[in-house]
Symmetry: C4
Subunit: 500 residues, 4 copies
Amino acid sequence: MSLTGAEVAKHNSAKDCWVIVHGRAYDVTEFLPEHPGGMKIILKYAGKDATEEFEPIHSPDTLDKYLEKSKHLGAVDMTTVVKEQVEESPEEKERLQRIQKMPLLEQCYNLLDFEAVARRVMKKGAWAYYSSAADDEITLRENHAAFHRIWFRPKVLVNVEHVDFSTTMLGTKVSIPFYVTATALGKLGNPEGEVLLTRAAAKHNVVQMIPTLASCSFDEIMDAASGDQVQWLQLYVNKDRAITQRIVQHAEKRGCKGLFITVDAPQLGRREKDMRSKFTDPGTDVQRQSGQQTDNSQGAARAISSFIDPALSWADIPWFQSITKMPIVLKGVQRVEDVLKAVEAGVQGVVLSNHGGRQLEFSRSSIEVLAETMPVLRELGLEDKIEIFIDGGIRRATDIVKALCLGAKGVGIGRPFLYAMSAYGLDGVDRAMQLLKDEMEMNMRLIGATRIDELNASMVDVRSLYNHGAVPSDNLASAVYDPLINPAQREVKAGVKAKL
Amino acid sequence: MSLTGAEVAKHNSAKDCWVIVHGRAYDVTEFLPEHPGGMKIILKYAGKDATEEFEPIHSPDTLDKYLEKSKHLGAVDMTTVVKEQVEESPEEKERLQRIQKMPLLEQCYNLLDFEAVARRVMKKGAWAYYSSAADDEITLRENHAAFHRIWFRPKVLVNVEHVDFSTTMLGTKVSIPFYVTATALGKLGNPEGEVLLTRAAAKHNVVQMIPTLASCSFDEIMDAASGDQVQWLQLYVNKDRAITQRIVQHAEKRGCKGLFITVDAPQLGRREKDMRSKFTDPGTDVQRQSGQQTDNSQGAARAISSFIDPALSWADIPWFQSITKMPIVLKGVQRVEDVLKAVEAGVQGVVLSNHGGRQLEFSRSSIEVLAETMPVLRELGLEDKIEIFIDGGIRRATDIVKALCLGAKGVGIGRPFLYAMSAYGLDGVDRAMQLLKDEMEMNMRLIGATRIDELNASMVDVRSLYNHGAVPSDNLASAVYDPLINPAQREVKAGVKAKL
Amino acid sequence: MSLTGAEVAKHNSAKDCWVIVHGRAYDVTEFLPEHPGGMKIILKYAGKDATEEFEPIHSPDTLDKYLEKSKHLGAVDMTTVVKEQVEESPEEKERLQRIQKMPLLEQCYNLLDFEAVARRVMKKGAWAYYSSAADDEITLRENHAAFHRIWFRPKVLVNVEHVDFSTTMLGTKVSIPFYVTATALGKLGNPEGEVLLTRAAAKHNVVQMIPTLASCSFDEIMDAASGDQVQWLQLYVNKDRAITQRIVQHAEKRGCKGLFITVDAPQLGRREKDMRSKFTDPGTDVQRQSGQQTDNSQGAARAISSFIDPALSWADIPWFQSITKMPIVLKGVQRVEDVLKAVEAGVQGVVLSNHGGRQLEFSRSSIEVLAETMPVLRELGLEDKIEIFIDGGIRRATDIVKALCLGAKGVGIGRPFLYAMSAYGLDGVDRAMQLLKDEMEMNMRLIGATRIDELNASMVDVRSLYNHGAVPSDNLASAVYDPLINPAQREVKAGVKAKL
Amino acid sequence: MSLTGAEVAKHNSAKDCWVIVHGRAYDVTEFLPEHPGGMKIILKYAGKDATEEFEPIHSPDTLDKYLEKSKHLGAVDMTTVVKEQVEESPEEKERLQRIQKMPLLEQCYNLLDFEAVARRVMKKGAWAYYSSAADDEITLRENHAAFHRIWFRPKVLVNVEHVDFSTTMLGTKVSIPFYVTATALGKLGNPEGEVLLTRAAAKHNVVQMIPTLASCSFDEIMDAASGDQVQWLQLYVNKDRAITQRIVQHAEKRGCKGLFITVDAPQLGRREKDMRSKFTDPGTDVQRQSGQQTDNSQGAARAISSFIDPALSWADIPWFQSITKMPIVLKGVQRVEDVLKAVEAGVQGVVLSNHGGRQLEFSRSSIEVLAETMPVLRELGLEDKIEIFIDGGIRRATDIVKALCLGAKGVGIGRPFLYAMSAYGLDGVDRAMQLLKDEMEMNMRLIGATRIDELNASMVDVRSLYNHGAVPSDNLASAVYDPLINPAQREVKAGVKAKL
């Protein structure tokens, strides 16, 4: 027999706290202090249905994994649960109106257009989670801006009737040199989550990297693959290595073809835009809190990442090599010295990346690190010992071409597909990928190359790449600067005459 | 006996489609799928008079060339054709008001002024076609911006009472070192089209380059020439070389004095501003199209260019040399290595050009490529083996002087004359050319040169030319960036007192 | 028996001027011409209570020190003093409303947020005094902007589970490598003044530098220290060295652990924003003053600084070394040559500083001077002979990390704590310091360092640091530039038809 | 007996044209076609009183010099002249209101403030004449911007109690190293004209350079000098050398101490802002003029300069040396090669200048040319053979200090004094000069120099000076650029529901 809403509703305090998720009740009283996202967020739903909040942040198997069976209280008769009447905020009403008026998919001509539309139609918190980055978001913007400091030196009068821009990554043949990189919490953008990306990747024959922090479970994403579609695993390494081993070996068994270990996130970054979007005013009647403590509810990312091991180091690499035969790629390398260490460690690849600007502010763009790396590798004769990928800021096929000219094997694209998915679902991602292919074909022709291996460093002019003179604008510092002004006009009494 | 409007109107579907052009009916049913601009645009006029749409995009002999005689149905009694009552859009009404208020021609003091006026008075689609360029239009703007990174080192106390800035190009004496470069679809700007440019060029004794994609026919433009006026032919090479041969040999017979082969356009670029201006909303009741296909109606340019051969290569040059005695110039060269190849191939000149920013985005400005090219030519002793022209972004006589100081033989100017023509017709083009001459005379004096051959590299400081630190702004990326903000003020209930 | 308000009120002219301060009357008639801030400001309060104006600008012992006892007229019965009814200006009303709505402290996520809030809620004159700087305030902004031209080269796969960013400065162990630098007139921001900074510094275990021009007296600030809290003395050297000697030796006796001699202020700078905020219109009926004289009321700074000795020179250093055993640090050094002189002079440290942009406009940022200095010191083997501090523009822990990578021992932070104090009092300063610690911990992890001594120059890319191409904008010059415009539309009479 | 207004009024056509100037009538019928400013402007006053228009543009002796005596018709009874009732335009009314509200002189804290006030209160045409420059006014703005790319390396701990910034120029002792450079048409800004500058220069003990194109006559300006005040003569060389000789020798006889020959103006530049301000709409009923001719009424400058000799060359220098003993200085030199020629020619000095940006657009700033020049002179041991002055863009004492550090003997300041004079008359100029002195004293102290000869190149960092990456913005090109936009929202019919 099912529980009723009324019964659950009685357990609505920190000392006795039940919540409903997907039609089943759970006693989370003892779990409260352990919740990585803080107890405040759970208490908001004490005695109530928490499904909507729970859904995009947790993969479906979370409760099974982290809450002991005795706390699983069984099914609830949902017809007896009082549906909370949330009044639509004016902000939300405006969003719904914007959705009414959103452009047709065919009006999106490039990847930035999807971002513009997503910003208008996404929920505020979801937009903030996807779009935010570290500190002043300088690196976030530098990532794209850096490409604008690279100019082309195209060849003309090359027969480019037939252009083929397929290539291979870690041994997998792909139709175009990008892959869908791992991004967390796909269901914030679309209720179906990451499996939409799986389907789009299949259609366009590109690799998808599965995120540790997906909204869908790992198996759901693997199951969504079709035929011999290739997927990779992005891994945040757990403090408990047994858990990590289980994850890695399960992925290999399920057929994952690459293990991308994130190395730039011993601690997840503070993202102030996300924090500000999550802030809720406790009200003016509440005694103002003293400043002694920094608020710990720093958005979704911090909450879900407390398990990540800050002690991960080069010394761990041999262990990974001992537990899997998948090629290992270090994701988040940011200096040529570490690329050389990676070669020495015998891994198959590195992703030059600054985590989309979400970790260390003022990390250089990956394209700049690439331009630093390849000449050193070539001088040491190591350029074929390791595959170099980059991600961050790629929005146009010209960006991809530049990366390949400079020696990258391929590029990862993350946010743009999330935005396309959030605005238009699977069709959006599909069109985004097709636009990249159209641009790619055109640009290969215009630069005078018929195959990927014809792209080389002589086709780009990078002399301005290192010139950070014009940094992306420092919005906060600019906003607080009170500019000098010239003397103002005076107010004078009527009738008073001045002479010039 | 003529056909009546009613008779034509019956054939108004994809399966049976007649259209009227210039008072004559044509059966285009079978031609529909072959139309380079897509069938949608023709079907809009099925059973109707399509003249107004047809006119600027096609040269007058198009129907004779591409539609077999049996489909030419003969004259239509135009008095029987129902004139469609197109309601004037508010946008169009505002444009007509702007035309009422347009400045007098004498108020235009420089070439940019014409662009400002043209933008106000041209039809939206025509403006979009002329003004648009590739991707984010970075190269478009870099073309002019690059000149702003070159500074003068003028000589003083030179007797500059008599200044002569005439020169020769491919053996032709001209009064000033610019030529009217080829630009497509002149009738979008003025019903008379390219012949207006012919007349202005004659008056000012400069060369006109005739575009393959003119609205007027080649012969109309040649016929408009006066006396021994010199014209050149710009050539898009057809996949069918027989057609190309016919065009080239006809031009030579008609007296063309130069063959400019476009080498930077194996495929015409995507111009998103143009695409957006052409987009028509199919209406909210239409089922939203899925994203599987990229919309192919990418504006006029793609439509009219499908014949261009992407296989054109260096191997074709000897053939061109075998079919004509005209000097051959390669238009669209973008790296010094290809200039050297051109010398080797024995052609008479190259135009350093990125096609007005309409092809490969992030192509460098032609003035930068020029600064790269000439020192290499001089070091190899080849500077007299070939004439170097540049085009793109030239708006002031100072731009021309800079190009000549750096070694160009002359510069091509395109859009500014189109804008002058679109706003003020022949008088506009005439004044635009005169303004350049006035500026040229003044600037020759002020830099301390009395003849073109006195301009040299010591008169310019190009140290900043390669400095792309400050790229033209990335409008789309800037527009979608959601800036960090400081904490907002709070809404408080009346009567609540806070203490500072 | 106390004086009455009426009695005092009689002495209300320049020839006979009494004022009330903190309930006691003073005869300042003879002192008027000697007042460093000019007599005008005193005369405004002739015969009245001047406490509110006096308070933040003068330390409590000022009257005892500078006005002979015979002029101390004794207590006033304050109930008999007519309280002046100052009408609240609309500007002040708006400020009070802004205070009502000010954000909660928890909504401040970084140091710039405090500045934004302070600007909204501070009194105009106080804000102007704190925020203003020299000339066009270019150096003010360059100070922070310079950090944005330094990029990180982080290490990955370093075990950063345990991060310790404590260090020592002049032998004192501190929890984080910043100190509270000296800033004048703390009571302008908060009635309690500098002692709030003392308490916050104690809590966070950082050093406070006590300013010569504090609103609180030196002893008040020393008394506010708790336990073995370390404080330093910032010294403006008096023309009368006996006074200076007294100050220094008193400080040493009270336990100060460092003497920071300001060397960049032989004369205090003109700060036009401050001057403009202080300007009061003498009214339209007053005869317009001729331009012969520059207005001397240049804000608080000039007024309180007339005692500073412009003759201070290197020759004075041995004397300082003879009168104190405190470590001596020269504050305001701006070129490597002077750092070498400081080593030679045997002082213990220098602060590379441009006085927060308040002195010589176009002084370089301290971080740039640091980058110039350390390689020279290292080459000469002097890097351990002297401690190098910097201040100016530090707003983020990334700024601190950059300074330490480049060789600084620590950084001084001034304005941000004043802003935090002005907006939120002690809690504000506390939170500001905590935010820096949180950022510091995160950034140490993300750059791959577990201790301060692991930070080194290979972790930063300073190639763009010297690139001043993009200077902070020149607001005044921009504001007065009247831009060229395109021809305007014409006004036409109704009915007149133009043809295009 | 005087003429009456009615009699004069009859002669009101091009064939019979009388005008009244300063109460006397003149027959200018025959002179009309010779008028350098065109006949149109005179015909506007045919038969009328032209004094107000005539006054600021012509020196008082113009009519005596250029109109033969027989055309001088004698006195007019001005009471009989109908005073034209000019209706005040709304624009002019607003200006008069702005004058009512203009700030007090004491509120101007720097030279840019005067420019801001002048812009508000000057007549449109006068403002346009003073403020305009060549083409896009890039050089105009670069002149000041270039100083912002130079940063200081100040010395500390220098005894700067006594600071002396007097120096000598061409043997004359001056109190501060600037002079009032020559600027034309002073009466446009103030009815008294250049003599106000003479008086201010006397008061502040600086040299005034008298312009050829002054509104006051040369002798009026000389007569206005007091005591042993030193003045120089700026010379535009006349095609008729006899006139030039007369001018030079008269100046020497009157006591001029320097001859500054302008060498950068063989033809005066086009200043479009000035032209646009002068444009008057001929009305909509007038047949639109064809574009064949460029409007010649290009503002005051062109009109008054037709006598200048474009044939002036190095060969003329010995002749000048033969006719005068005054030191000769070449004003407008712009490259080091020409400075060396000047040394060779044996002149006493050069002014590195681009004529305030009014001549060749994209001329480099004089401070940049100075930085190029001095190292070459020093290497050749010529630095003492010639005095180097610069002008253009100097607005702050820091600008002066930078110029002196780099080797200039002094700097010329022009427009700022015109603006001060136009806004506040003599008092304005006086205050402007005093502000510079106040700034100078402070900055000498802050940079650590007690005398001018202690300023040297080690005190400035010019590494960014040559970096023109960020040019002043190109207003016209920016204004006409139509930016790409993201897809717009759609208008939808009420009731239609879209799904996300």
